[in-house]
Symmetry: C2
Subunit: 223 residues, 2 copies
């Protein structure tokens, strides 16, 4: 069976768990905090990062979440999530990268640093200025998500795709950290509630990060 090396608030691991949930691929979780720099993690992934998808029996260790998603897309027939014409697939991948790189850089990464790492690793308080800047960046990204939801059925086009899973993965981490202000973003919020209601989301909503409880509304399925 696949072992997924991850920690509960890693957005790239969440994207993968959503994909594996939608595709019905079985896996077990191995807790891995990349900042601890365990030898085994560096051995499995020379980039020293989560997620890693490891099959000890077959001696296969895959890393980089997008490489893993493409691998599962190529090897598991059920529920294609990078589908459609080549142009539609390019649009899905463009959005995946927009969320994994730009949204992560502007919002998820500083939120994780200020609200998770400072609390449980560095024992420092968050920097209010960074949090305000992150809020402004999030607002801009939510505007763009509103626009996508307004003009398409799903974020990348007519069908649910890896772009939806990726965006929801990042938003769910920021939501766990209590850093989303949905005001003025009803379209994005409505779309996120639909994503949150999917069975693939359930395991994420019930998992907790040690020493860092989520706000009460985090796992709620009511608007």
């Amino acid at each position: 069976m696949w072992q997924l090396h991850q920690f509960p608030l890693c957005p790239f691991s969440r994207k993968l768990r959503l994909l594996m949930g939608e595709k019905n691929v079985a896996y077990e979780l191995v807790r891995e905090y990349p900042w601890e720099g365990r030898d085994e993690l560096w051995h499995l992934n020379p980039a020293g990062r989560t997620p890693v998808l490891h099959d000890p029996a077959r001696q296969v260790a895959l890393s980089d979440s997008q490489a893993i998603c493409e691998f599962l897309e190529e090897t598991v027939d059920r529920t294609p999530l990078i589908s459609g014409s080549a142009l539609q697939r390019a649009e899905i991948r463009r959005l995946v990268s927009l969320f994994d790189e730009n949204f992560y850089h502007d919002v998820t990464e500083p939120a994780l640093h200020e609200k998770m790492k400072k609390r449980i690793v560095l024992r420092q308080s968050p920097d209010g200025q960074v949090l305000r800047q992150l809020g402004r960046m999030l607002h801009g990204h939510l505007d763009y998500i509103d626009w996508l939801v307004d003009t398409r059925q799903w974020l990348a086009g007519p069908t649910l795709s890896l772009a939806d899973l990726t965006c929801a993965a990042h938003l769910s981490v920021v939501d766990y950290l209590g850093a989303i202000d949905w005001k003025g973003h009803e379209q994005a919020q409505g779309w996120y509630m639909v994503m949150k209601s999917r069975p693939s989301f359930r395991p994420l909503l019930s998992e907790k990060m040690d020493g860092l409880p989520p706000p009460r509304e985090y796992a709620s399925l009511d608007l």
Copy 2:
């Protein structure tokens, strides 16, 4: 015809140009400096980044270099560069991401900032401490490339792949900026000379960045 929006030292644009060269896809260049933040760039790519591959006639604008590479791989039959079994393809994509994310973050990006942006945009001198740190990181990455070259025919396995093009694209930018010390990395250097000799590399070696001439050896094909 495709128009590629790029500037000569953008490593992601170089990766794409090498791919298009290998696949014999025609394109013309449009000079684009992302730090100038032109409206047209933001219009073509909401992430405001190069490269963008634009076909005005078909009103198609593709962005994120990896999404574009996957698109060309799916639509152009000639010279597959993400090929082999699903596991081999995962290995190619893992390495592409290692170079585009880790190598870029540790080496290419600080080299561009210190040696290009400070010189032609900010009018500042480079920070010696940053350059030394970058040199140490580069040394570690070259060790890993040496190991890949020692154990495989090409970086990702038995055939030339997008991993080779991506690694060569980043190294060529750092080489243009005069920041590579090959000492102790004969394997990596030998492999890079082979890459540099490919016809797809020629257009890159002859192009110059305004106000920033490359060192004399940059375009030389002798060791």
